[in-house]
């Protein structure tokens, strides 16, 4: 390897530098495999070690996390069984009174756990087995001011139960879980319902699982060393690089596959253990509850159903255990299959990534990359800050936006992780598949559906085309006027005409909006001066569109004027002289000399201006605001309204992605067309 000395970086002046050694550095990618065979063995081994090492390490981490999750689930489910069982008894006891206290006192707890009951009526602590609630603070008593969170939590649960019931869905959690004392204990709260009304809440504090037993490292080592040893042997036996890489890939898959089988077994065992633990808890709690019902003569009707206590956070029974605590085989198998499916998927993804790493290194890709990086290290050092900036400021938000567009994120579920809100292409189907663009009214006139995507797209295109046309025409005319030779006070005119551009465009927009005010606006004032009647500009789509058009026209001509003026001044005067000698008239000069000379400057300006106008949020938002009824909305303002007026963030993200797609398509077509014109 030492022979492959990296080439010197090119000198600053850009002149080719002679390589200091007398022989040109051999390029390994072009050197024959026979000559460099020894050096390539290392690549295969390093590739396999790296790919296998990283993927096994990650797989081990995943298994450890899955174990931790299982343990947390086990702990939470047993705690929930206990809590919901207690809630059931408290409900039977009517939510308040001595019977509730008897139930709480009689409800068995493990060491370090405690339960309490809060009643909304009178803001009271109805019963409590917490160690601090003794003596003067013994229940029943009014909650003290520092116990406000207890009461608020109960009220939140009540609101959640009512919301879910009204909407006929399960949107809000009806059981709240919180880790206290830096994760050492878990606080669970559930509502108490009496006669269909939430009248209080029960809470339990149980010790939480801090650390689940970490899976052992031995299988990882085995799955790592065995394939590596086998590969080392194979590399020396085989001579063709391709075959070596193929063998390494097969060994990689075997190693990772072996570990997958091991971890799936471990997961299965964990799952069974969870089920057994919850089942045992359910059985003891169920028996105890039955005993408490008889002892305190609580309502025995309806019959006790301990199976329903094993529920999710929406208090929907999981149905994995029957009332007697026996596991329901089908449900259990389904749950197991789901866990296994997720694990297989995660490990499969790891396998693909690992395989890619292996092939990349084994086939020399890494070598190539490192070589160029070293060779142009100065260049890479210079662009690193910009690259980091781009990743943080552009690529990350962009990727996040695209991800968001595949979800159903909205105001109500913004706290949930995106993976739970995944809806695939539904947003896109909703946007692009809705063709209710317009319909004919009873009197035969066409009524547009202003909220439809295609209407807004059509409007945006009309808006863009008219604006750019006006901008180019006015700008070009003014530039021609300013380009008259020996024009006096030209700098003054130029400054005056550039002024609209120099002003912040939202100030311009607000001024124009004021000018179109129906009563006090200067436009209607002028119309009235000439005996007309003022218009309600923002009440019909066409006049409303006109106001925005006027504003944006005003804002866009200076740019076009500056661009054309620059290009005009670079046209040599001799051309016109020669044309005059040849007898060409003014119009012929304009079409044959001026316009072609302007094209290289104007085409990029038009391309830019199309993109700007297409996304001209400020003007539409501030001048028309989409009035009337969303008819003058362009795509970006519509996306904004979906996000911040209808609170549908996922849908708005999809909308924005569609806008991005349209602009991408436009620039691709534009690129091809302008390349064609340049070639001509």
């Amino acid at each position: 390897m030492s022979q492959n000395a990296p080439q010197q970086p090119p000198s600053a002046a850009g002149t080719p530098v002679r390589v200091s050694s007398s022989h040109p550095a051999p390029d390994p990618s072009t050197a024959g495999p026979a000559g460099r065979a020894g050096g390539y063995r290392g690549r295969v081994l390093v590739g396999l070690a790296l790919a296998l090492g990283v993927s096994l390490f990650l797989a081990h981490g995943l298994l450890a996390r899955a174990n931790q999750e299982r343990a947390a689930e086990r702990e939470q489910r047993t705690a929930a069984v206990s809590l919901l069982g207690l809630a059931d008894l408290v409900q039977r006891a009517g939510g308040t009174g001595d019977a509730v206290r008897a139930v709480v006192a009689g409800w068995p707890g493990m060491p370090g756990s405690a339960v309490r009951v809060i009643a909304f009526s009178g803001i009271r602590l109805e019963a409590s087995a917490f160690p601090q609630d003794t003596g003067e603070k013994a229940a029943p008593r009014k909650l003290s001011r520092d116990e406000k969170p207890l009461y608020d939590r109960g009220q939140r649960l009540r609101a959640a139960v009512e919301t879910n019931r009204e909407e006929g869905g399960a949107r809000k959690p009806e059981v709240e879980s919180e880790l206290l004392d830096a994760g050492a204990s878990r606080l669970l709260s559930a509502p108490v319902e009496v006669d269909g009304q939430v009248v209080g809440s029960v809470e339990s504090l149980t010790p939480a699982v801090v650390n689940a037993e970490a899976p052992s490292w031995t299988p990882v080592l085995l799955a790592f060393l065995l394939p590596l040893a086998a590969c080392a042997a194979a590399v020396f036996v085989l001579s063709r690089q391709g075959v070596r890489v193929a063998v390494a890939a097969a060994l990689f898959l075997a190693g990772l596959g072996g570990y997958t089988v091991y971890s799936l077994r471990a997961l299965d065992a964990e799952l069974r253990e969870t089920e057994n633990a919850v089942s045992a808890e359910l059985r003891t709690r169920g028996e105890k509850a039955q005993a408490l019902i008889t002892a305190n003569t609580l309502k025995a009707d309806p019959a006790l159903k301990p199976g329903a206590w094993d529920a999710d956070m929406m208090r929907r029974p999981l149905g994995r255990l029957t009332d007697s605590g026996a596991p329901d085989a089908d449900k259990l198998a389904a749950a197991g299959a789901q866990v296994r499916g997720n694990a297989t998927k995660a490990l499969g993804a790891l396998g693909v990534v690992g395989l890619a790493v292996l092939l990349f290194i084994g086939l020399g890709g890494l070598h190539q990359v490192v070589r160029t990086m070293v060779e142009y290290r100065q260049a890479y050092a210079y662009i690193t800050p910009a690259m980091v900036g781009m990743v943080v400021l552009v690529f990350f938000p962009f990727a996040y936006g695209i991800t968001l567009s595949f979800t159903d994120a909205n105001l109500y579920n913004s706290s949930q992780p995106l993976s739970e809100l995944w809806v695939g292409f539904r947003n896109y189907v909703d946007i692009l598949g809705d063709f209710s663009f317009a319909k004919t009214a009873a009197d035969g006139s066409l009524v547009f559906n202003y909220l439809n995507f295609y209407y807004t797209l059509l409007f945006t295109i009309v808006w863009t085309v008219t604006n750019v046309t006006i901008g180019v025409t006015v700008g070009l005319l003014l530039a021609l006027a300013l380009n008259v030779p020996n024009l006096r006070m030209r700098p003054v005119y130029r400054v005056l005409l550039i002024l609209p551009w120099a002003m912040p465009n939202y100030i311009t927009a607000l001024i124009w909006k004021g000018m179109f005010h129906q009563q006090f606006g200067v436009v209607n004032h002028v119309i009235r001066m000439f005996g007309g009647e003022g218009l309600a500009w923002f009440d019909s789509p066409f006049t409303s569109f006109f106001t925005a058009l006027a504003t944006n026209g005003w804002l866009s001509f200076p740019f076009m004027m500056v661009v054309s003026l620059g290009a005009l001044q670079s046209i040599p005067g001799e051309l016109y002289e020669a044309a005059r000698v040849d007898g060409a008239n003014r119009w012929q000069q304009f079409t044959a000399i001026t316009l072609p000379a302007l094209k290289p400057a104007l085409v990029p300006a038009v391309i830019l201006s199309v993109v700007w106008t297409f996304n001209m949020f400020n003007i539409i938002f501030l001048v028309t605001g989409g009035d009337p009824g969303g008819s003058t909305e362009i795509l970006v303002t519509q996306a904004y309204k979906f996000a911040f007026e209808r609170y549908r963030h996922g849908y708005a993200a999809a909308y924005s992605t569609v806008i991005f797609g349209i602009l991408l398509l436009y620039s691709m077509v534009q690129n091809r067309m302008s390349r064609a014109t340049e070639a001509a």
């Binding site: 803001i123 939140r156 949107r171 105001l411 109500y412 009440d539 009337p628 007026e645």
Partner: protein, 407 residues
Amino acid sequence: MTHLRTLLAALCLCAVGLLPVPSFAATELVLWHAYRAEEKAALEKVVAEYNKANEGKVKVTTLAVPYDAYADKISATVPRGKGPDLFIFAQDRLGGWIEAGNTVEPIDFFLDDATKKRFIPTTMEAMTYRGTTYGLPLNYKVITLIYNKKLVPTPPKTSGEMVTMAKKLTDAKAGRFGLAYAYNDFYYHAAVMNGFGGGVFDAKGAPTMNSPANVKSVEQVLKWKNKDGILPAEPSSALITSLFNEGKAAMVFSGPWFLGEVSKNVEYGLATLPTLDENKGTPMKPWMTVEGVYVAAPSKNKEAAYDFAKFLTDAGPGKTLALEGRQSPSNTAVYQDAKVAADPLLKAMKAQVDVAVPMPNLPEMSMVWTPATSAMNTVFKNTATPKAALDAAQKSVAKDVAGLRKK
């Protein structure tokens, strides 16, 4: 030697100065609001009184935030713990903030029955979301009947009287109208809609844009405009103001914000909106907006903040806000004061608010405006029947609500 000693002493003094001063300082509360002019002055006066009474214990400072950016500023700063301890805002954004979380603190825990009872019940209802109270109502705004005393000696009590009176005063060719109000604006239309027993959401929060009562209410206004001809076409707020100021509109339905634009030459009176003969004499029930004082959820001094909110909504400060700030407090005791009772504006507001209903504080409300406005526009441009227009609005709102509540 003496130099050294002085130097040492000076150093020690400096060190003492650097030590953190034990907090004898008063609890600092920050209150945000968007008031201007006399409303701001009245609020600041009340706050100064509170600070004087609690000197050394609590110090409240106020910050006036420009209204345009106010709601966004609260959404952005409060959940991140960078906002005030208390803020004043209308109830229309309440639901959104509660659903977003960590913005508004529930106050049921602090709220005793005596405090609850001192407010107009409907204003308290506006502060309640899903059965939990989130703020104390400070004041309210509501639409009333504003009439030109020269043209209308006694204001009409019923819609029948109003129409007869308005017909006499209407001369469409000369641009004179008996009645003018922004009937195509859904906010104004709500008075008639609620009067007919309609509404935009049912008790369960499902949209009811096309309920029979809503359709009937739109048909009623359509009759006033087309058949009775007492209403001007395309009633923008500017048109209504100019008609009223020129004495060409005898009666207007509008709120206290309208009075600032009325010219000094017009002598106006305020009265309760008429009852609806067409619906067995039920009163028109405009939507009221209630400005509440909310305790910010991340505040460190919630108790002190609540105590201040309680003070601010008490009768004494309410009187100052009413008489000097020209606002209508939600505290009923304020209206027993002789000066307040004699004030025609405050009296009319109080009479009207007793039949008004709070504008829904559900976050879904923001999805109603656009479809509702376009429905009203299509109806009054005679391009669709009220039923068809409201059906379309219902479809659009239901779709948006379903889009939000999926899962």
